[in-house]
Structure formats: structure tokens, C-alpha cells
């Protein structure tokens, strides 16, 4: 049984089909990438599996049972959480207090929640900044806080929405390292990302969306050599021209 599975999920906004009959499955312990050009439906798809949108058709299974119609908070309690592309830590709260927002998910008492938050911050290299105001952190630090907050809810599956956006190459390397370390603790991850080298080096498998449809899935090697993926990214005209030159 896959830990997370989407079966033919479709989302229609008015007359526009944003996501069309996408099948998707994630096995325990994997890092799965989700890529596609702008407007491909990645975020819509993400919102459906995390409970923010309800699919018009299809089903989403988490650990074998349907989570369609459940609130995101309920899904988080079951063991799946997400981060947001635009990170908004509470600026006038400390890093520790920000991360505690997440660790309260499974720890009702402040002291327990604080202990869990410290543990997560240790793993993510945030421990020495625990007392700093989150608003004083640079972008990379704030992204880290966002990931820490999600990890502190103690999820089985984490959905990361563009955690690399806005980072310098050096910071990206650190973040890649962090994501791997999180995976090593047994957390399964789905990442939406624009930065191709990151996706290629991190992911075990990749799904490609284009115009709301899944056009390919496979290992990074399979994806880079996939013709329809190249078409989707580069445009058909360019493909014909490239073939003509060859």
C-alpha cells in the first residue's frame, strides 16, 4: 500500500480544468518531485492532496483511506502537512515560539511542545537562533523556520512548496542537505520545485504536469530524456527546430 495516492483527481474552476485526471502515488520513505511549467496545475494539485481544495472528481488516499473532504488540520493530525511558497513566520515571536506552533500538534503542554521544538530546531540547525525574533532572520532562515514548523507537527508525509525559491546557490545546498536529513528520520516528502538541478539531485521519482495533465513520471534520468517533457518546457517550435538541426 502506498502512503499517499491520488486516483484520477480533477479540479475544475468555472470552465477551466486546472487539473485533469491525475494519478499519483508516493511510497514510504521516498522523495517525490512535482514539476511543470508555470500554470501547469502543480499548486492546484498540491492544494487538493493537502485538503485545501476538494477535487471535483477522483480520490486521495492517505495510508489507504480517503482524505477527500477532510479539513487540512484533520489531515495534519493524521500525519500529513505542508509548507507554503510564501513563508510568513510571526515576526514578533521568536524562532522557538514559531516552531512551537507546530509542535503543539501532538503536545498539549507548553513544556513538552518546547522540548519537541528544540529537537526539531537542532536537526535543522536553528537551535542557536531559538531566541531570535523570526522577523530578524534572512530569507533562508525564514524558510528553515517554515520547514521546522511543519516538521514539528511530526508528520509521516511533508509536502514542500518551493522551499528553494529565493535562496542563493550556497543556501540551496544547505537546504538540500536539510531535506535529505529530514528524509533520513523517516519522513516521506513531496516537493514542488522550479529549480531543476535541485529536483534532479533530490528526488527518487518525478511527476511532470502540463496543462493540468500528467505527461510523464519516472526517475530523474527517465524524465530528462523524455521527449514530451522537453516539448512542454521548451515549446514544440523549438523541438522541431532542434530536430531539424540535428
Amino acid at each position: 500500500m502506498s502512503i499517499l495516492e491520488a486516483k484520477g483527481v480533477t479540479k475544475i474552476f468555472g470552465g477551466l480544468t486546472a487539473v485533469k485526471e491525475v494519478d499519483f502515488r508516493v511510497e514510504k520513505g521516498e522523495i517525490v518531485g512535482l514539476i511543470g511549467p508555470n500554470g501547469a496545475g502543480k499548486t492546484t494539485f498540491f492544494n487538493m492532496i493537502s485538503g485545501f481544495y476538494r477535487p471535483n472528481e477522483g480520490d486521495v488516499l492517505f495510508n489507504g483511506s480517503s482524505i477527500v473532504g477532510l479539513k487540512p488540520s484533520r489531515i495534519c493530525k493524521l500525519g500529513m502537512t505542508r509548507t507554503f511558497q510564501i513563508v510568513k513566520p510571526f515576526p514578533e515571536l521568536t524562532v522557538l515560539e514559531n516552531v512551537m506552533m507546530g509542535s503543539f500538534n501532538h503536545h498539549a503542554r507548553s513544556a513538552d511542545s518546547r522540548a519537541k521544538a528544540m529537537e526539531v530546531m537542532e536537526l535543522l540547525g536553528l537551535a542557536e537562533r531559538a531566541g531570535e525574533l523570526a522577523g530578524n532572520l534572512p530569507v533562508a532562515g525564514r524558510k528553515r523556520v517554515e520547514v521546522a514548523k511543519a516538521l514539528a507537527t511530526e508528520p509521516e508525509v511533508m509536502l514542500l512548496d518551493e522551499v528553494m525559491a529565493g535562496l542563493t546557490p550556497a543556501e540551496m545546498h544547505q537546504m538540500i542537505d536539510t531535506v535529505r536529513r529530514i528524509r533520513d528520520t523517516g519522513v516521506t516528502m513531496v516537493i514542488v520545485e522550479h529549480v531543476m538541478p535541485v529536483i534532479m539531485s533530490l528526488c527518487d521519482r518525478i511527476y511532470v504536469l502540463h496543462h493540468g495533465e500528467k505527461i510523464a513520471d519516472g526517475t530523474p534520468e527517465e524524465i530528462v530524456s523524455n521527449k514530451s517533457v522537453m516539448e512542454a518546457y521548451l515549446g514544440e517550435d523549438f523541438m522541431i527546430e532542434a530536430e531539424g538541426n540535428a
Binding site: K71, R74, T81, R82, F84, K88, A150
Partner: protein, 368 residues
């Protein structure tokens, strides 16, 4: 012992303030204290002003739970206040039930009304200004209903008969018992909010205020916690209604359940710092004396002038302006207070947009 080590200057300040507040009635009438006060004020007026500071501090602190921490901007808290006042007063006048019991009943009624407003608003996903409008609408509806019902006394309100000077009746001839009740209510509200701020509830309320989607994603059932904040806030506000009814012994819908009163409550929290534990209290210590003291000092100061006749008079502009100030001061006593309110609001909005307490913390946090 650890606790003693953690004592900071701010704690000593609080301790000193508590000492002064608890002993103030003992020397309010002394020459030293009255000598410090503006002309026209005596010890009894001082106690009244202090009592109103506690009363508004309590109200604003109650609002702070839902409005400050959870970010649900209610402009209808006067409704919860009115429900508390009417519930205990009706129980007292009709059935002789002690206002203390009535206070609990009033809290239940106000809390239920808050829950109802929350259920309706959050079901339809109303946020921010739209939630604020709904709370105003509910409060207005409630006022109209109370005005048109016979058993609530209609527009004439309820006059609470003097049944005796006793704690059971919640009626006193002296100001001191009211002073201490108001002080205790304010201290309890600070304690409640302090506990909330440092617990899961407080963290979740703030998370919801900042970003509802992000809060949901980390496992916070936002509807549940928003309802919790509004219900708790409404119930606490209801208790203040009972206090007010017993203190003034007369309640009318036009005084109680009006938007202006809701704004008085909200204003203190915003000035002091919404979403902080001491903000509403500091706000009340700043704003309440402005309203109360100016009313006492200027009452009757320039009575008998009408604005039209003043503007038609052929006198120098400077004199006209000073007479205009008199006019404002005389206009129900609240005119000048409103001007001062406006001035303070402008200063705070420009200089301390998050309120006085966060501003103080940023400037002097290292000394505290």
C-alpha cells in the same frame, strides 16, 4: 530560588503598582492626594476614575482574547456587555436572584450569543472587516429587540432598586467595594489572558490571526479555535455588564448596546497593544482618565452656548476658538474628551502603530 533570580525591574514595578492600587482607597481623601489632582476633583472622583480604568481594562482585556490574539475584529462587544447587564438585572429585579449568580448566568447568555455570531460568520467564511460588520449588525439587532420587548423595560430600561448595602445583593453605598470588585476583575482578566498567551490556545489564536491557511496546515482547526476565542471573550464581557448594572443601578439599551461603546472597548486594546497581555490595561490607564477626568473637570464649563450662536458672534477668531473649546467641553461633557482621544489616537498610530506596549518593549525591553 530560581524564581527570585528571574525577578526583573518590571516585576518590581508591577508589585509597586499593585500595592498602590490596593491601598489607594485608604488615602484617596488625604490632602496630599487631592492636592495632586486637577481642580474640581476629589477623592471620590479619583476612585471613580480608577474604577473606570479597571472596568475598561477588564472589558478591553476580554476583547483582547478574540480581537487581539485571535485577530477576529469584533465591533459588537457592547452586545455581550448588554446581555450580561440585562440577564443579571432581570433575574435580580424579577426573582431576587443575587447578581453574583446573575453574573454567571449573564456570562452563559453572552457566551452563547458570541458562539452563535461566530457559528454564522465562520460558516460563511467571513473574515476581517466583514466579521466586524456582522458583529455590529448583531449588536444593533439585539438593541432593537430589547427596546421593543416589554419584559426588558423597552427603551426605558431597568431601574435596579436599592435593596441594601451588602455583598450578597452586590449593592453598596460606598465606592470602595465597587473599586475592589473592579480591581479584582481586572486582575483576573490579566491572569486569564496571561495563562492563555502562554498555552496552546494562545499560540493557536496568534497563528490564526497571522495566516489561517498556514494555521490549518500545521494542524489547527481554525473554526474551532476561532469559536473558542469569541465565546470566551463574549462570556467575560458579559460579566462586566453585571458589574456596570450594579454600579450605576440603571441600564438602558441606548447607553449600553451602541457601537460607540464597542469602540471604546476596542480602542484601549489597540492603543495599548492588541494581542499583548498588558496592552489593554495600559490602554485603559491612558484612555479612560482622558474620558472620565475631562468629563468631571469640564462639566458645565461653558454651558448655555450653542454652536450656531457662537459662530454668528462677531468676536476675534482666537476668542471664538476658546469659546468653541468651552462649547465642546460642555457638549455633554464628552466633547473635549473626543478631541483628546483623537489626538492620542493620531500620536499612537503614527509613532507606535502596534500600540504602546510593543513600542515600550522595543525601546526599553533590555531594562525590563
Amino acid at each position: 530560588m530560581d524564581y527570585l533570580k528571574n525577578l526583573r525591574p518590571l516585576h518590581f514595578f508591577y508589585l509597586a503598582a499593585l500595592l498602590v492600587l490596593f491601598t489607594l482607597p485608604l488615602y484617596a481623601e488625604s490632602g496630599f492626594v487631592t492636592g495632586l489632582m486637577p481642580e474640581g476633583m476629589d477623592g471620590s472622583a479619583l476612585l471613580h476614575v480608577m474604577l473606570m480604568i479597571f472596568f475598561f481594562g477588564y472589558l478591553s482585556q476580554s476583547w483582547n482574547i478574540s480581537g487581539g490574539f485571535a485577530g477576529q475584529l469584533s465591533l459588537g462587544h457592547a452586545a455581550f456587555f448588554g446581555l450580561g447587564a440585562y440577564t443579571s438585572s432581570l433575574l435580580y429585579v424579577n426573582f431576587g436572584i443575587s447578581p453574583w449568580v446573575g453574573m454567571l448566568a449573564g456570562m452563559a447568555v453572552a457566551g452563547t450569543f458570541g458562539l452563535l455570531i461566530g457559528l454564522v460568520s465562520f460558516h460563511y467564511g467571513l473574515k476581517g472587516p466583514f466579521f466586524a460588520l456582522v458583529t455590529i449588525a448583531f449588536a444593533e439587532i439585539l438593541r432593537l429587540i430589547i427596546q421593543h420587548l416589554a419584559f426588558t423595560g423597552g427603551p426605558m430600561g431597568i431601574l435596579i432598586p436599592l435593596m441594601g448595602d451588602s455583598w450578597w445583593e452586590f449593592q453598596f453605598l460606598a465606592k470602595e467595594p465597587y473599586y475592589y470588585i473592579a480591581l479584582f476583575m481586572m486582575l483576573i482578566s490579566i491572569a486569564v489572558v496571561w495563562v492563555i498567551a502562554n498555552s496552546r490556545w494562545g499560540f493557536y489564536f496568534r497563528a490564526i490571526r497571522e495566516d489561517e491557511d498556514a494555521a490549518e496546515a500545521i494542524g489547527i482547526d481554525i473554526t474551532r479555535y476561532k469559536l473558542l476565542s469569541v465565546t470566551l471573550s463574549a462570556a467575560m464581557t458579559g460579566a462586566a455588564g453585571t458589574f456596570y448594572a450594579q454600579y450605576t443601578q440603571y441600564i438602558v439599551p441606548d447607553d449600553l448596546i451602541i457601537v460607540a461603546f464597542s469602540i471604546e472597548i476596542v480602542l484601549r486594546a489597540i492603543i495599548g497593544g492588541a494581542g499583548t497581555v498588558m496592552g489593554p490595561i495600559v490602554g485603559s490607564f491612558i484612555m479612560t482618565p482622558l474620558g472620565e477626568a475631562t468629563r468631571i473637570i469640564f462639566e458645565g464649563g461653558g454651558a448655555g452656548i450653542s454652536l450656531v450662536s457662537l459662530l454668528q458672534q462677531e468676536i476675534p477668531a482666537g476668542e471664538k476658538f476658546s469659546q468653541y473649546l468651552d462649547y465642546l467641553a460642555a457638549g455633554g461633557g464628552g466633547g473635549l474628551a473626543i478631541m483628546l482621544y483623537g489626538a492620542v489616537l493620531i500620536v499612537v498610530c503614527i509613532g507606535m502603530p502596534r500600540g504602546v506596549v510593543p513600542w515600550l518593549r522595543r525601546r526599553f525591553g533590555r531594562y525590563a
